[in-house]
Amino acid sequence: MSVALQRARPWLGTLVEVCAEASAAQCARRAVEAAFAEIEAVHRCMSFHDADSDLSRLHAAAVGTAVMVDARTVEVLRCALDLAARSHGRFDLGVAGKLVARGFLPRPRSPFTPDAAANWRDIELLGDDRVRLRRPLWIDLGGIAKGYAVDRAIAALQEHGATQMRVNAGGDLRVAGPREEVVHLRDVEGRGIAGAVALRDAALASSAGAATRQRCDDRWSGTHLDARSGETVGLSSSASVVAPTCMIADALTKVAFAATPAFARRVFAHYGAQAVINDMRDCGGVKGRAA
């Protein structure tokens, strides 16, 4: 006999749902609490908004200073830098300055203003959990940290003896255990259902450019940028990516928007990921120039 427990709490700017099955109620309860504790820890380390987060301390330090961060932040930075290299900068964690300029993120407390030419190559991992910026740059982990939080929560559930589990952070989710689960996919406007995917021991992330767009200087602007050009991408698209981990699935939704299908296929193959990309322009969707 197994007991199922399902809880939802607001974290990471969304609603996070944790589901766990275990042999006893007490075991399931401990597993769920441990999962939420991990999510909270990731939130506190990697929030762009919290003044005490690792990112905020990095932004508050002078350029060239080594800043001690949590080992989890290093893990996400390492993965993000690898993704930036493999996607030829289409995924770039150094775009926060552009997002601040467009009003998508608040201006952080920082002694400098980002250098428009600075990018992910200017972020140095020095070892011993120290990070240094070589040029003025603000980091945004919004496109990857949520997925990482989901992965950490899944690991916590497994460590605490859960047998079948699922963590869903506002649509970025991962399932683990022997049973297959069917996930429905919202359509590009978020109103209906456009498909579904059955998953076992896999992660899924979806992203819709249209859902985040804002009017900016008389043009449509979104939170997904092709970091190389600074142009908004994916304004009329949505992408659903399946990958072995939620961190990779989350980050690859951004590559899906910025890359040509052939390039995306190569990057996705490297990470063992699959995707389906829905372009709304086909059905008379969003009109407007990208900023």
């Binding site: 429905h184 259902i193 990958a243 990309i277």
Partner: protein, 173 residues
């Protein structure tokens, strides 16, 4: 990693599209927040004038419970609801006697799309292996992915409950 894409390739499938999950009942939320409490006493909602000062519309009616153990007050559990664009969230905020947050739990989540399974241009780009099996689409929706929901309404709800505490529940200094 095992994946089966279930993408509709034919005509639109009419299907009620709604997602609803109950996480906790009110008594369960009471017990989890205050395991030592022997009694949960309903506290009347403040009058309209007081509610106006909290900055909420007329008709707002949170349920307020005072948790007691052998006549000693442990804190409050306040059950409230927020309505977003297409979702309704019932949640419970537990406060200790000093007004500090003990826990915040979602009790029930309901989302209605007011639509049906739509048939957009999924055919366009598939990266990786794909398959089609539209039948499974009509299953009950338990998990959903897509345009990320904001928890802004929930955050605003918690803020109004903290104002309600300061106005109506806090012991006079």
């Amino acid at each position: 990693m095992h994946v089966r894409w279930l993408i509709p390739l034919g005509a639109a499938v009419a299907s009620p599209v709604a997602l609803a999950t109950q996480y906790l009942s009110v008594p369960q939320a009471q017990q989890e927040a205050f395991p030592g409490a022997g009694e949960f006493r309903a506290v009347p909602v403040p009058d309209a004038a007081a509610l106006a000062a909290v900055g909420v519309p007329a008709g707002w009616a949170p349920q307020i419970f005072e948790a007691d153990a052998s006549g000693k007050k442990l804190g409050w559990l306040i059950v409230d609801q927020v309505i977003g664009k297409s979702e309704a969230i019932t949640y419970a905020l537990a406060l200790d006697t000093a007004g500090a947050v003990i826990s915040l739990e979602v009790l029930e989540y309901r989302e209605s799309h007011g639509g049906e399974v739509r048939m957009p241009a999924w055919r366009k780009q598939f990266v990786g292996k794909t398959a089609a099996d539209a039948a499974a689409l009509n299953r009950e929706i338990k998990i959903i992915s897509g345009a990320t929901l904001s928890c802004r309404h929930l955050t605003e709800g918690v803020q109004r409950l903290l104002r309600l505490y300061a106005l109506a529940l806090r012991a006079p200094a």
